[in-house]
């Protein structure tokens, strides 16, 4: 019995990991209609930044774990946000006026640039972070239990909280209103006095910040990372976002959970060999019957 529950828990954890990264994809698409393919790489960079800041903080003699983590988390979010801002300015803003394809290609190019930049700057080895958070919650007996580590529980909590906070911001705050206005009709929003450039930059920074939170938590969970994790995570998270309905924040979370659960349950009860085939097959099936994803809204064409 506990094995089944554990597999469900595994799926929820994996799903939250995908969801955390998918939120960044979906937010950017929701506001400016563009898939930021470099988002996976921003997540990868935040993992490296986290490790670097952690080492620096240790060097300065900060021994307390919560303080060290808090400081590195803030530092990582800030610097990753800067990366997001710069990438938007350099690779996407100049292409705002051109065809829909141009920013997409630029994003793919940016993603390759970042991968190779990190590979050259930090080397191609597996990097690791010391296991500082080692606690587990175990339910059941000594030999037959279901468990979730502290970090994994935090991932699920943060993913849901982030989704809640961002949905609140988009729907209830002036900033959110500006975002929605920019998404609905950029020219009109500009005419009405909304600085759409600033709004878009802010959305990218928030997206990068979310990637940073994901990077920190996921690195704490797995312990090791390399310059290529962005690509793999990016594909899965993008799939999760599309599955749930790209542009919808709850959709990103739902898509992530569906993907994570299907992977875990298939690996756990059928075979690990083809779990990706199953997961992507599921995506295709969902899209055939609901082309805009599970929670997606059909695009309204204004005549």
């Amino acid at each position: 019995m506990h094995i089944f529950v554990q597999q469900i828990v595994n799926g929820l954890i994996l799903g939250s990991i995908y969801g955390l990264i998918a939120i960044g994809y979906t937010m950017v698409y929701g506001i400016i209609g563009m898939i930021n393919f470099a988002h996976g790489e921003i997540y990868m960079i935040s993992a490296y930044l986290f490790a670097i800041f952690l080492a620096l903080v240790r060097l300065f003699g900060v021994d307390s774990v919560p303080v060290a983590l808090l400081v590195t988390l803030v530092a990582t979010i800030v610097v990753t946000g800067l990366y997001g801002f710069t990438i938007e300015r350099v690779a996407y803003r100049p292409l705002r006026g051109s065809t829909r394809l141009a920013p997409l290609i630029s994003a793919i190019g940016m993603s390759l640039v970042l991968q190779n930049y990190v590979q050259l700057a930090q080397g191609a080895n597996e990097q690791s972070v010391a296991a500082i958070f080692s606690g587990v919650f175990r339910f059941g007996t000594e030999t037959d239990f279901t468990q979730i580590t502290h970090v994994q529980a935090l991932i699920i909590a943060v993913a849901i909280a982030a989704m809640g906070v961002l949905t609140y911001i988009i729907n209830r705050t002036p900033l959110g209103r500006a975002c929605r206005a920019t998404q609905q009709d950029r020219t009109m929003a500009n005419l009405l006095g909304i600085d759409t450039d600033r709004v878009i930059s802010l959305v990218f920074v928030i997206g990068a910040g979310m990637a940073a939170v994901a990077g920190v938590l996921i690195t704490l969970n797995f312990g090791s990372f390399n310059f290529f994790i962005g690509f793999v995570a990016g594909v899965k998270a993008f799939t999760a976002a599309v599955l749930g309905g790209i542009g919808s924040l709850p959709g990103a979370m739902l898509g992530g959970l569906v993907l994570g659960l299907s992977e875990s349950l298939f690996a756990g009860y059928v075979m690990s060999d083809y779990k990706d085939v199953f997961a992507f097959g599921l995506l295709v099936a969902v899209l055939i019957f609901r082309p805009t994803g599970l929670l997606g809204r059909p695009a309204v064409e204004k005549i």
Partner: protein, 376 residues
């Protein structure tokens, strides 16, 4: 505008022409190909350092028939497609011999290119049987084969670990699945032990919690993993976290101190078992070279000395054959004469495999706060 373009074009052509006129001193080119970047770059580093030291030592001793050696480095990232590109580049650079590659899935396609161009190839680390089983005349190894490794692993698991439930996991690569299959065959045929689970994971995956939970459910007490250290380390760590009390056995791709680093927790990495050749650093003939490495601040772990030995073998063949680039001729000479290397005397059979194999089981233990592997 047109005039500026013409002048610019002429200037560029001139500059390029000057570059190609550069005369290089006459050297013998030794190719070294391996994963210099990518997930197993740590092993590429072992190969490169081994080759560099060998070339430096041989050049200091006068070179080969008066000519100095020069290394031509190729990076295949442990990717079969890149390996083919690297092989073509090495052929174009007119190398006399190629030492490489590392991953069996790279060595095999590359060997087709080298064999077609009659270039001697010595791999220091590719252990999949198919590397030499295809009977290409110019392919050699200074390491063992996975069927030998699988036998040693299978024997150890059956005799020493006496498992109640064995799981065999691989990473679907040529090397990983090959090694897992070799161990599986040994256990099935000789000991009639049937594994409770035989599954493949993907290289690059990070989350193995479902697999670990499944292993827990099957009450597995021995896991044999065929694959590389990045995935092995994660499986070990996640198994430890979930409280799976099983012995973890794997092969020679864990022979790097990056493995315990990926595991991250010394208590989890302790007790991991792996098969590998006899520790080259302990061989008497290797002492002066090992000291040289250590003086330069590098511990020649894993396949470093295997690569050094491969270079020595190639050079022995070149010396005796007037630096010919004819791979078949060098290959015949090596099979007939063998070579004295830093790892002792090496002799090869008809297929290019070493005549003697020396796989043993190692245990990762904690010593003085650091994790090292000791022969059992």
């Amino acid at each position: 505008m047109k005039r500026t373009l013409v002048i610019l074009a002429l200037a560029t052509a001139g500059a390029l022409g000057l570059v190609s006129c550069e005369r290089k001193p006459d050297t013998i080119k030794i190719g070294i190909a391996g994963p210099m970047t990518g997930p197993v770059a740590k092993f590429g580093e072992q190969l490169k350092k081994g080759a560099e030291q060998a070339v430096a030592d041989i050049n200091a001793a006068g070179g080969v028939n008066g000519k100095k050696l020069e290394l031509v480095v190729g990076d295949d990232q442990c990717d079969p497609k890149q390996a083919q590109t690297v092989a073509n580049k090495q052929v174009e650079a007119k190398v006399s011999v190629v030492i490489g590659h590392f991953c069996s899935s790279s060595t095999i396609p590359a060997s087709v290119v080298y064999a077609e161009n009659n270039i001697l190839q010595i791999t220091p680390a590719s252990t999949n049987p198919q590397v030499t089983d295809r009977k290409l005349p110019t392919v050699f190894r200074t390491c063992g084969r996975d069927d030998q490794q699988g036998d040693v692993a299978g024997d150890f698991i059956a005799n020493k670990l006496k498992p109640k439930a064995v799981a065999i996991i691989h990473d679907k690569t040529t090397y990983g699945q090959g090694l897992a299959d070799a161990t599986k065959n040994r256990l099935n045929e000789k000991y009639k032990i049937k594994e409770v689970l035989y599954e493949g994971i993907n290289q690059g995956d990070k989350d193995f919690s479902s697999l670990v939970t499944k292993l827990k459910g099957l009450k597995v007490d021995v896991i044999f993993f065929g694959g590389y250290h990045a995935e092995a380390g994660l499986i070990v760590r996640q198994a430890f976290d979930q409280g799976l009390k099983a012995k973890f056995v794997s092969g020679d791709a864990l022979v790097t101190d990056e493995f315990p680093q990926v595991v991250g927790k010394p208590e989890a990495a302790k007790g991991v078992l792996m098969t590998f050749g006899a520790d080259a650093r302990k061989i008497a003939a290797a002492k002066p070279v090992v000291d040289k490495f250590k003086a330069a601040g590098y511990d020649p772990e894993g396949y470093t000395l295997y690569t050094y030995a491969a270079v020595q073998a190639a050079v022995a063949a070149l010396k005796a054959n007037e630096n010919t680039r004819d791979g078949k001729k060098l290959a015949e000479w090596l099979k007939k004469n063998g070579a004295d290397t830093v790892m002792g005397r090496k002799e090869w059979d008809e297929k290019g495999d070493l005549k003697t194999s020396d796989y043993v089981v190692y245990l990762w233990t904690e010593e003085g706060g650091k994790l090292t592997y000791k022969e059992l």
